[in-house]
């Protein structure tokens, strides 16, 4: 069990900045995110895009902003659980909360801050009939621990950067590797595309262009993928693992089950402190909704500051925080 003052769900820019605002008030934070990296939409959807409306930065790349936020909060030593989805929040009799992830990680917190953005980033799944039968029994939507594919027969599907990058990486480990792509060429990163073509020429990769995985066979565990090409030619490929890599997209997910008031997939909050209808649970950033709400990073930062003042009272038995400029005392890390 992880013990903390605030448990922050979502490591997007707003969740990260909440660590700073909480830190100024001497509250410790634990941050959880289903993505394996921090940064939310910025690192997942547009890491290389310039942002122009962050005060004090005429222009900043999304990933650069995330890196700077990480630096800014480092003095407060936040702890992280990444790559796990928060499934449950349970309020204890003493008012504290226990949160639990899909992997069973538990966090005990005096208050909860939901900075869940547009929701949990979930993999886009191919339309295959018995897909869910083999989830966790041969189908992986993310490569978490590449070593597990050592000496195995692996089929990867997808034509985007992550499919190419992983194929290049996995080619060193697997016994047999197949890449299935619907298109006739790879768009995007030309470097990786060249490497993939070379692997295919060297016989280290079975490259199936103009093709799709159209069925899965097995008994309890995955045994083979059926690959169909544009001409209708069908091929069976023995597979210990099938890894469809079609990117991620946000879905509200478990947040819908937490008995919070929702309005169009967002949590309605009190604009004084961004508190939800459950005492001790706050919602900030893209995930919340109130009259006049703007889904901007800027608004989320402001919400984080107000939330922290209010959460301080929850964490400290009703005591009020006093506002101090950082210019007076600097950052008192812990």
């Amino acid at each position: 069990m992880i013990y903390t003052d605030l448990c922050i769900i979502g490591a997007g820019p707003v969740g990260l900045f909440a660590v700073f605002e909480a830190g100024l008030l001497k509250m410790r934070c634990h941050v959880m995110d289903v993505l394996p990296q921090i940064g939310g939409q910025l690192s997942e959807i547009y890491p290389k895009k310039p942002i122009y409306d962050i005060p004090g930065y005429p222009v900043v790349l999304a990933q650069e902003l995330v890196d700077n936020l990480a630096k800014q909060i480092a003095p407060f030593n936040p702890t992280f659980t990444l790559g796990e989805r928060v499934e449950k929040i349970e309020r204890q009799e003493d008012g504290a909360f226990i949160l639990e992830t899909n992997e069973g990680t538990q966090c005990h917190a005096k208050a909860v801050v939901i900075a869940g953005g547009l929701g949990c980033f979930e993999p886009r799944k191919p339309a295959l009939e018995n897909l869910d039968t083999y989830e966790g029994k041969g189908i992986d939507y993310m490569v978490r621990n590449p070593e597990k594919y050592t000496g195995k027969k692996v089929v990867v599907a997808g034509g985007g950067d992550s499919a190419l990058d992983w194929v290049i990486y996995l080619a060193e480990l697997t016994e047999e590797l197949t890449l299935v792509h619907r298109g006739s060429s790879f768009r995007g990163a030309p470097d990786s595309a060249d490497k993939v073509m070379k692997l295919a020429e060297e016989g280290k990769l079975n490259l199936k262009l103009n093709s799709e995985v159209t069925a899965l066979n097995g008994n309890g565990v995955l045994k083979e993928c059926l690959i169909t090409n544009k001409e209708g030619k069908i091929e069976l490929v023995a597979s210990d693992y099938f890894i469809p890599l079609f990117g991620l997209s946000p879905k509200l997910g478990p947040i819908a089950d937490w008995k919070l008031n929702l309005d169009r997939n967002a949590i309605t909050v009190n604009v004084e402190d961004y508190a939800t209808n459950v005492e001790g649970v706050y919602a900030i950033g893209d995930i919340n909704q109130y009259p006049g709400k703007l889904k901007l990073i800027l608004s989320g930062f402001h919400e984080a500051a107000l939330m922290a003042q209010s959460a301080y009272r929850v964490v400290n038995g009703g005591k009020k925080a006093s506002l101090k400029y950082t210019t007076v005392n600097g950052i008192q890390s812990f």
Binding site: Q41, I45, Y46, G158, G183, R187, G188, F246, S249, R264
Partner: protein, 108 residues
């Protein structure tokens, strides 16, 4: 001028909306303004695919641009008629077009 767009939702509901051609709007923006539940997460940059639609008539002949092709290429389920609504400017040629919203692009 105003053009007509016939919109089929993932659940089969069919409706016709009107859109002005002189406001430099995209189909995605019109759909959002008409309260269709498409997410359009990236705001129209061809980066999120959450404005994925199918064009159901074959008179509309505008070709997808590169950014759009790149994005469509990464999706698990697309067809010959798949398009990103944010990359489709509202034009007179579009008058009477029929589109279908893809279930995975909606917010539900």
């Amino acid at each position: 001028m105003d053009i007509k767009i016939h919109v089929e939702e993932a659940n089969g509901n069919l409706n016709t909306i009107e859109a002005p051609t002189d406001m430099a709007l995209s189909l995605m923006e019109i759909l959002k303004a008409s309260d269709y539940p498409i997410a359009a997460t990236c705001g129209g940059m061809a980066l999120c695919a959450s404005c994925h639609v199918e064009v159901l008539d074959n008179t509309y002949a505008e070709e997808p641009n590169d950014a759009e092709m790149d994005m469509l290429d990464t999706l698990p389920v697309v067809s010959q008629s798949s398009r990103l609504a944010c990359q489709m400017p509202i034009t007179e040629e579009m008058d009477g077009i029929r589109i279908r919203l893809m279930a995975e692009a909606t917010m539900e």
